[in-house]
């Protein structure tokens, strides 16, 4: 039973899972199919929920269990299901065409990870015990890579997914910096994420119907 009480062991688990989250984020930059993109997002959210549960266990922060459960419901189940149905209904088969090619994108994502670590250092307080040191660096990296992916994508749905992964970064930052926001705020954020996913999904569907494409670089009528 000892590992379940040992803080150091907890930190190792969190770091391991944070690393997986980061790897998935970079995989998202690199892959080419929308359905895979959605599943990677679901997997990433799953590991986030696990991180939240681990931190809840080792730091005795019970409200984080609720945040973890909500992540499982909203980001691991509902949002991916919604988007996969959308993809099926729109009959999208084409590949994602990033603006910057894949190898270069991965290099840039690596560079952004480095930036994330540098920024996270300024928050590091060695005197304070906690689990979140590496997790925070990963969170900031997720945020930055999410930004980059949004700029780098032309397809509407992939931009939405990038926005959601950016939000995943914020969630990770919240649980590693302050063990999550107060519960009611967390509820508000989850509600917003769910509604935003639905609203943006409908919008994507309408754009696809009107333009016969999700290529947002074709949205260029409004100028000046």
């Amino acid at each position: 039973m000892r590992p379940f009480l040992d803080m150091q062991f907890g930190e190792r688990i969190v770091t391991l899972m944070a690393a997986l989250v980061l790897v998935l984020q970079i995989a998202m930059v690199a892959q080419r199919w929308i359905v895979v993109h959605i599943r990677i997002f679901a997997a990433q959210s799953f590991f986030l929920a696990m991180i939240a549960a681990t931190i809840a266990w080792y730091n005795h922060a019970p409200h984080l269990y609720i945040a973890a459960a909500l992540t499982l419901v909203v980001k691991v189940t509902l949002v991916p299901l919604l988007f996969e149905r959308l993809v099926k209904r729109m009959e999208i088969h084409e590949e994602i065409e990033p603006i910057v090619n894949v190898p270069l994108s991965v290099v840039i994502a690596g560079g952004l990870t480095l930036v994330g670590y540098v920024v996270a250092e300024s928050f590091y307080r060695p005197e304070e015990p906690g689990l979140g040191h590496n997790a925070l660096a990963v969170a900031i990296s997720l945020f930055l890579i999410g930004f980059f992916t949004m700029i780098n994508r032309r397809k509407a749905l992939t931009q939405v997914l990038a926005l959601l992964s950016l939000e995943n970064g914020l969630f990770l930052a919240a649980i590693s910096l302050t063990y999550g926001m107060p519960l009611i705020v967390e509820l508000g954020i989850f509600f917003d994420v769910l509604v935003a996913a639905m609203v943006l999904g409908i919008l994507v569907y309408r754009i696809r119907e009107s333009f016969a494409s999700m290529d947002v670089s074709r949205l260029r009528r409004l100028r000046g």
Binding site: F143, E167, L177, I189, V195, V199, L222
Partner: protein, 497 residues
């Protein structure tokens, strides 16, 4: 109790409009709902004047003079727009702009969208202005975006989809930065006693202990918040969604977005400005605000000068005014804060009036391009033409209108505070916008007219327009004493006393 009523009534209005299937019932629900909301907002303002602050549910809801002013302005705009939109949507229905199937189900569905989402938008704005918890405030802000996306796509045109997409994505990225900023602010206060509880993120608590907040974190938090809420306020360079969304949404929605929602975004910014300036001193947030404020003013000048579309012209005008208000906040001090609050009030009246006039012109001529209007507004629509010109003169700061006073106050704050460059740029950019606006709107209203018949009377729209116009004229000469008291109390909140 009032605070709860202010939230419940718009929500109930939305529910009623969603379930009734008749146009008249939806119109009545909106009208009555917003009427009560306005009365409640006035009552709240009275309470705040009498007691200082009003709070409820253990400080979860909290209203001081600043919140009360924002709530009052939001409720006023919502009420005027609800009367205006009755005439506006009926006209749209007749002209076939809402779809022209014979059974009318599509038209009714569109109207239901409008009459349901507008109260929800107002609900989230009011919630934002009275949420004490900064995280809840963020969630309400995000809800305003979500509620208004389908108002932007209301007409279902290809261009409205494009506008809504930009609005959703730029707004989404901006608000994610604001959430990060909120989070970092929470972290900055995490060593205060009681920070794990809900009230640890309450503005009133953080403001009391602002000096003990972690300084590095607050610095980062303010930058992120400025970028985040600045996007919603339309500060350059995050302003690009604004002209698109404003020219595609139905005009009453645009009037709400460009005044009440702008006020709410600035309100969020002001709350964090107060925390940051108490923690780090006013210089750091002030300089950043001046930078973004002047940039927004400067960016809007060329677009106002060469604009071809009058609804986009008004949108760039809003960007300019958003910049003016950010500048006023950046200047700070007693005079800058008072200038900001006065300007917020006056701008809300004048800009919503301008959009209502623009809506009248748009519906009559069916175009929003100057070139196709051929300057015949005054002849075709004498009343709208006169009011349009008057409101335009007011908004570019011509005396005797009230915006002259507030802009002059802000300018004085700049020179008195030794911000010489800010003052000079402020005058320069204002002159540019002034020229562009006079050039276009003057030409549009007064120019040689083609042969057009005089438009028929439109009681709902003209009535709302005249009510606002009367308010604009009166307030230029006489600000009612309680309103001025509320404004100066709000300025005192900003100034940190």
């Amino acid at each position: 109790m009032l605070l709860i009523a202010l939230l419940l009534i718009p929500f109930a209005t939305a529910a009623v409009s969603f379930f009734v299937r008749r146009r008249a019932a939806m119109e009545a629900a909106n009208l009555i709902g917003f009427g009560i909301v306005f009365l409640a907002a006035v009552a709240l303002a009275g309470q705040v004047l009498a007691r200082g602050t009003v709070s409820l549910a253990n400080g979860f809801f909290y209203a001081d003079a600043l919140s009360a002013l924002v709530i009052l302005l939001t409720a006023a705009v919502a009420l005027v727009c609800s009367t205006y939109s009755i005439g506006y949507l009926r006209d749209d229905q007749q002209s076939g702009a809402l779809g022209d199937d014979a059974s009318g189900t599509e038209q009714l569905a569109r109207m239901r969208t409008y009459y349901t989402l507008t109260p929800l938008l107002v609900f989230s704005m009011l919630f934002m202005a009275m949420a004490n918890n900064l995280g809840v405030m963020w969630a309400a802000m995000e809800a305003t975006t979500l509620a208004s996306i389908f108002l932007v796509t209301f007409y279902g045109k290809v261009t409205s989809l494009e506008a809504a997409w930009k609005y959703a994505i730029i707004g989404g990225v901006g608000l994610s930065m604001a959430l990060f900023g909120t989070l970092v602010a929470y972290y900055a206060g995490h060593r205060l006693p009681g920070s794990e509880s809900l009230s640890g993120l309450n503005w009133s608590v953080l403001a009391q202990h602002a000096a003990q907040l972690d300084k590095t974190s607050m610095r980062l938090a303010f930058v992120l918040i400025l970028l985040g809420y600045g996007t919603k306020a339309g500060l350059a360079p995050m302003h690009t969604w604004k002209p698109d969304a404003y020219s595609e949404a139905p005009v009453p929605t645009t009037a709400i977005l460009s005044t009440a929602l702008l006020n709410c975004a600035l309100y969020g910014l002001v709350r964090f400005y107060i925390l940051t300036s108490r923690c780090l001193g006013a210089d750091f947030p002030g300089h950043l605000l001046l930078l973004f404020g002047l940039l927004s003013m400067g960016v809007s000048v060329p677009f106002v000068l060469v604009q071809k579309n009058y609804r986009r012209l008004l949108a760039y005008h809003t960007i300019d005014h958003s910049g003016i208000m950010a500048t006023a906040l950046g200047l700070g001090g007693a005079m800058g804060s008072l200038g900001l609050m006065l300007h917020m009030t006056f701008h809300t009246i004048a800009k919503s009036l301008l959009f209502l006039c623009a809506g009248n012109v748009y519906q009559h001529f069916g175009t929003d391009l100057f070139a196709k209007l051929k300057g015949s507004v005054l002849r075709a629509m004498p009343l709208t033409g006169v009011v349009f010109l008057m409101a335009m003169l007011a908004i570019i700061g011509m005396p005797p209108f009230s915006l002259f006073q507030s802009e002059f106050l802000i300018l004085r704050a700049a020179f008195d505070g030794g911000h010489l460059l800010t003052g000079v740029l402020f005058v320069l950019f204002s002159t540019g916008v002034f020229t562009g606006a006079i050039l276009h709107v003057g030409g549009m209203v007064l120019g040689p007219g083609g042969e057009t018949a005089v438009a028929a009377r439109r009681p709902w729209r003209d009535g709302s327009m005249l009510a606002l116009a009367a308010a604009l004229v009166v307030i230029g000469f006489w600000v009612p004493a309680p309103l001025f008291q509320l404004i100066s109390n709000a300025a005192r909140v900003v100034n940190g006393q």
